[in-house]
Amino acid sequence: MADAKDPMNQMFKFWQDGQDAFFNAQQDLADGFAKSMTQGFTPKPTNMMPQGFDAWQGFVKAWAPGWDPATAMATGAADMMGKSRDAMFSLFDPSTWMAQSPEQLKTILQSIASAPQFADLVMPQGDIATAWAETVEFQEATAEFAKIMHEAWLRSYTEYSKAFSLEDLKSGKVKQALDAWLKIANKELLDTQASQDFMDAQKKLMSTATRLKKRQAEAAQKWAETYQMPTRSEIDDLTQIVTELRRELRDLKRKIG
């Protein structure tokens, strides 16, 4: 029989228990999420990772008997952990979804994204939360942009109603009516596009869309790394090297020629 107090065996046990805890936690999370979707049930955080935490405590005690992780967790770190954990469960609770304003949701997602990333297991949640926060920003930017355009159309309608009446249309001047509409709407849209409000809203829209695209590229990069595939940044590096070599070759050719 192997000695249970042997540090190496403690470590193996920790790995084994940790793995079990991970799978159990995944199972709990999936079950909880499914329940919450169907019954409005909010999963309780206390049942999430006891097995993994006990294993971790045992491992730490075997290597550092003088340090009590439970005490450490009960102080500042626990507060930090608790906030992120509560935020995450709030995230999975549909009853809170409609009540969240984008700003509140953004704060919650931000707190998850910046949670302590001491274990690889936390990372996917962090990435998802960050991407979600950026999606919310993009949606806000889209709404702001749409508002400006909506106001521009309203101004166009107002101007058009002054320039062309219903009676004009009834008299059969359809082509003139349409031409007047096109001209008035075009002018209003051009004036709007030249305004600072439009410029800023459009810039924000492009900027938030760009960040989402960047996040997508990062996800693809991580996927490629996981499967030992060449990543985009590696190919970009090679492209840059080839471009510089072609440049040198051109200069040399000219010097020789």
């Binding site: 219903l166 249309l169 349409l178 051009l190 596009q193 030249a194 800023d200 960047k214 970009d236």
Partner: protein, 379 residues
Amino acid sequence: MASTNLIKAEFAEAYHIAWQQLMDEGVKAVKSNDTLSKIKHGDVQIAETPADVVFRVDKVTLSRYRPLTKKKADVPPVIICYGLFGRQTMIDLQEDRSLVRNLLNNGIDVYVVDWGNPTRADQFLTLDDYINGYLRDCVDYLIDQNDGKPISMFGICEGGTFAACLVALEPELFSGLSLAITPIDFVGDPDNFWAGEGFLNKWAQNMTEAEVNEIIDTHGNMPGALTGAIFSSLTPMASMTKYNLGLARLEGDEAATLNFLRMEKWIADRPDHPGAAAKEWFNQLYRENRLTAGTFELGDRTVNLGHISCPVLNIYAEQDHIVPVSCTKALGKYVRPKLYREIGFSGGHVGVFVSRKAQGVVASGLSDWLKETQNTKTK
């Protein structure tokens, strides 16, 4: 709120009546649909004037158009340089709207640069690579073919800026410089812009360098779809109604419909702009206006437009919503008056090449100017 609702209701009623009457007179739209349904993809061809690739470097090719007439003008060969935001096929849209055919019919030897189809593999190419690298390579080839004698350069839009820079850096290689719808001063005269003029300038100047770079770095290049969307937004209602009202108003005219489709084919073929070059274009030129400030550098040399010493023809469009007139006419400040000439065309940015009247004003004007200023027999 009540007045807004009233406006909405009145507009809705007006809109309803308008469309009802349109439907009553819907023969035009039906005719257009009928014509469209008979046109096959293969019927919509552009850039059909025969040409042969005579030089190639990386993705860039130089093609020589086959002569259309036996007569030969006593002018140097002309190399046409288009920009990277669109395709050079615009200069040869269709047989009766082709700058290239007009020049060839005047006996002029015409070459055109094709930048190819930039991809992420080209994202690190700079303006220096394009101007002092590829364009210079094409020019060197052509000068070699011309027994070492200078050639004439014709630059269009961004390609005009490339051409002006190369002529300023290597004046001894060129007998003449003609430009069309070319930005030189990237600020222009904003106080006197008409509605819709100079939007692109303002748009770029509203961005920070970091914001420009973030967009380009994320995509690798400046996506053609993005620049296409920006160009479309410069004529908002025309862009929104061209596939419905615009097409209906063609009343099924086959020639007009084919012309419309050829333009659409050209517009849809918008390549990505290589990233590093796009950053320089927007940051150093649009945002910092370095060319007119005399601080624009290509490689280790500064471009001084005052070094242009050959005859210059500057063609601009009076209703150009992409390159304001004041931005293009600025070149006149840098060239000696006796060498400088302008043709102002009453039309828009693309109309300079594809409209019917441009064939007489622009194409003939360019041919006449070449014969007058660069006659190889009298020099």
